[in-house]
């Protein structure tokens, strides 16, 4: 049964916000684990990296409206959104190159799928460098939305099933 349009809209917004929150949290945890190669081992590292690439595509798709809106507003005065846009762009480039180079130097995941590529020191260096750049940019990216994260975490912590929010 569907309620009045305003309630349905509210429920949709809440569902979308919850999806955003948990997907962002998943990305953060997955990247932290993937970066810790000594903790995961090479096989988990590689499969986690490939999974991270897929989730990253979904994350970007969900926020594509923001990308378009902010890109259009870049020429207008006001520095904060511009700074966030720049951080996000750098993060997109470094994470994409990190995952792509990781696939190109894969030693376990790709051979398991029957694909063997000639590894090169160039892609190994790119992977090492972009992983470090991403490690710096990920916490900055999250911290720039810290108030939203705290607000959502508080909201979810106080959420009770059946209670309208």
């Amino acid at each position: 049964m569907t309620g009045p349009p305003v309630t349905v809209s509210r429920r949709r917004i809440m569902a979308r916000t919850r999806l955003d929150f948990w997907l962002d949290a998943l990305l953060l945890v997955a990247y932290t684990l993937a970066y810790s190669l000594g903790f995961t081992g090479i096989a988990v590292h590689e499969w986690l990296g490939i999974g991270l690439g897929v989730v990253l595509l979904v994350h970007l798709t969900l926020h594509w409206d923001w990308v378009i809106r902010t890109t259009r507003k870049l020429l207008l005065p006001g520095g904060r959104e511009r700074f966030i846009w720049l951080v996000n762009l750098l993060l997109l480039v470094s994470m994409t190159l990190c995952i792509a180079s990781g696939i190109l130097i894969s030693e376990v995941a790709l051979p398991e799928l029957g694909i063997t590529l000639r590894a090169s020191s160039f892609w190994r260096n790119v992977h090492d460098t972009t992983a470090t750049v991403t490690l710096i940019l990920v916490p900055i990216h999250a911290a720039l939305r810290w108030r939203w994260i705290v607000g959502m975490a508080r909201r979810f912590a106080s959420w009770r099933p059946g209670r309208s929010r």
Partner: protein, 131 residues
């Protein structure tokens, strides 16, 4: 990030949402493909597509090991790099803790700077109102 004030939050039919999602996904895939293509161009321009490290099994003649590989080999010999022959779960928690520490420190710095800037802005605004 889209935080609920964009057109995505308008009440749309389920079909329209799916079409919109697919359109955005296509744009994202295209953007990612452009970045990867630029990376490939970079590799090609710097002559970095040949072998030189790793466990590649390409046919034909293989190039001599690069300087980086020889350096890595030296580091392995001296014990600076540990070789993990096991493909499974390593559970070196120290490594994970270090990653978390780096992330926490960087996030704390950004949050602190943001808080200071916000407080300064608020103080300037309240001083302006009083004046």
């Amino acid at each position: 990030m889209d935080r609920g004030n964009g057109p995505a939050f308008r009440l749309l039919a389920a079909g329209a949402v799916t079409v919109r999602f697919l359109r955005h996904l296509a744009a994202v895939v295209l953007t990612v493909a452009i970045i990867v293509a630029l990376g490939m161009l970079w590799a090609h321009a710097s002559g970095g597509t040949g072998t030189g490290g790793g466990t590649g099994t390409g046919g034909g003649l293989k190039a001599a090991p690069s300087r980086e590989v020889l350096q890595r080999l030296e580091q392995v010999k001296t014990g600076a790099i540990k070789i993990q022959s096991d493909d499974g779960f390593q559970a070196n928690t120290g490594n994970l803790v270090r990653t978390c520490e780096i992330e926490a420190v960087l996030a704390a710095v950004v949050i602190t700077v943001g808080s200071i800037r916000r407080r300064n802005r608020r103080m300037r605004r309240s001083a302006g109102v009083r004046a």
